[in-house]
Symmetry: C3
Subunit: 157 residues, 3 copies
């Protein structure tokens, strides 16, 4: 039986934040052929504000991981708002996980796991886990984590 | 009526810089199936030299945005030189916008808009705006901005 | 005659390190349609340990280039372990080359050439060289270089 990610969100009691407005000249999502591309998403909280802070300075590893989970919730909200039902998604293909961190912070994978574990919970282990890079850079609005992703869609019936 | 991006370049009076030689072991562009992949491009000026400087230090936000626009002009030059007519491009799919900035600079989207607004002018709002991440890192030759992109091509008739 | 990359590895006397275990919630490789996506790989040495150090600080440009070559060997090992024979690969499409460097280091392309030259040796100049960005950021476990890649596969007979 096919996993129903929209139902899983309810079962898991997840609260999706409001979908953010694009902060520049880009689309939140774009469908090309069998693929859904999602622009880099930040950690939007339930009140619509962004989490802030650099990991390794104001935020520790575990706070960074929570921010990465919030990025995942934001991405699910963006997809539902601008694309539609999650059950049209076949699988997560590729993730670029970006951590706003100090130059000596070296645990970006542990931070981005907050995003990846959420995707595995919602889409299942088989379809919710794809390839990934988890690296450190400097992010807009001083958000701690940003993730861009590419999903494969089910073929239209 | 289909937008003609090659004509738009003339109408807008855009001056494309010379297409840069690869600065390493890579191809400037590669076509695979229906997609045109473009290697990370820097801001080449009309005399063939690169703009330089870190945003947040030697360059401000607006100078960074001008550099991002110049990256767009460089990319158009690269595509015309190594691929061919822009009218074979159906749309911009995905952009990774990279800003060489200080660790406290937080307006990468405003900088990369310089690139994105140019693409919208040349290819139109519908086809020239795709998904995007705009983030900060350290760039080769101390260029202020680098952008890599993926375009969808029209199917061959 | 088709180049045989598995044979080339033997001819070149290359020693592949052990394939690393994923350091987080992701797959080392994923096949979707005609494409093989590979997660960001670090420089694993023959004893299974990671090379460490920031380029521009503990490591110079040439040491960084050697690390990038080792990333290439690690990626070949990962592909052989988790996907299968290299001869099923048609070509390298796209590389994101990430250098863990100081904020004033500006020769990321020279570093990533260590990876790209290896791919050209193993897959040939035509098929082993794709599009690329080579940029600087902060990397997990303080590894000097990380590379993610996308390959095109031959169609199944």
């Amino acid at each position: 039986m096919k996993n129903d990610p929209d139902l899983r969100i309810i079962e898991l009691g997840l609260i999706l934040p409001p979908s953010p407005k694009p902060a520049g000249v880009y689309r939140p999502v774009l469908v090309v052929g069998q693929f859904l591309y999602v622009s880099g998403q930040g950690p939007v909280m339930s009140d619509g504000l962004l989490m802030k802070g650099k990991v390794g300075a104001e935020l520790g590893k575990d706070e960074g991981k929570l921010a990465a989970r919030q990025v995942g919730l934001t991405m699910l909200s963006t997809i539902k708002t601008h694309f539609g039902e999650l059950k049209k998604i076949k699988r997560l293909v590729k993730v670029l996980g970006m951590v706003n961190c100090t130059s000596d912070f070296d645990q970006q994978p542990a931070v981005i796991n907050g995003f990846s574990e959420l995707m595995a919970e919602v889409f299942g282990e088989e379809n919710g886990i794809g390839v990934r890079s988890a690296v450190g850079m400097t992010l807009p609005s001083n958000i701690p984590v940003e993730v861009e992703a590419m999903f494969e869609l089910y073929e239209e019936q």
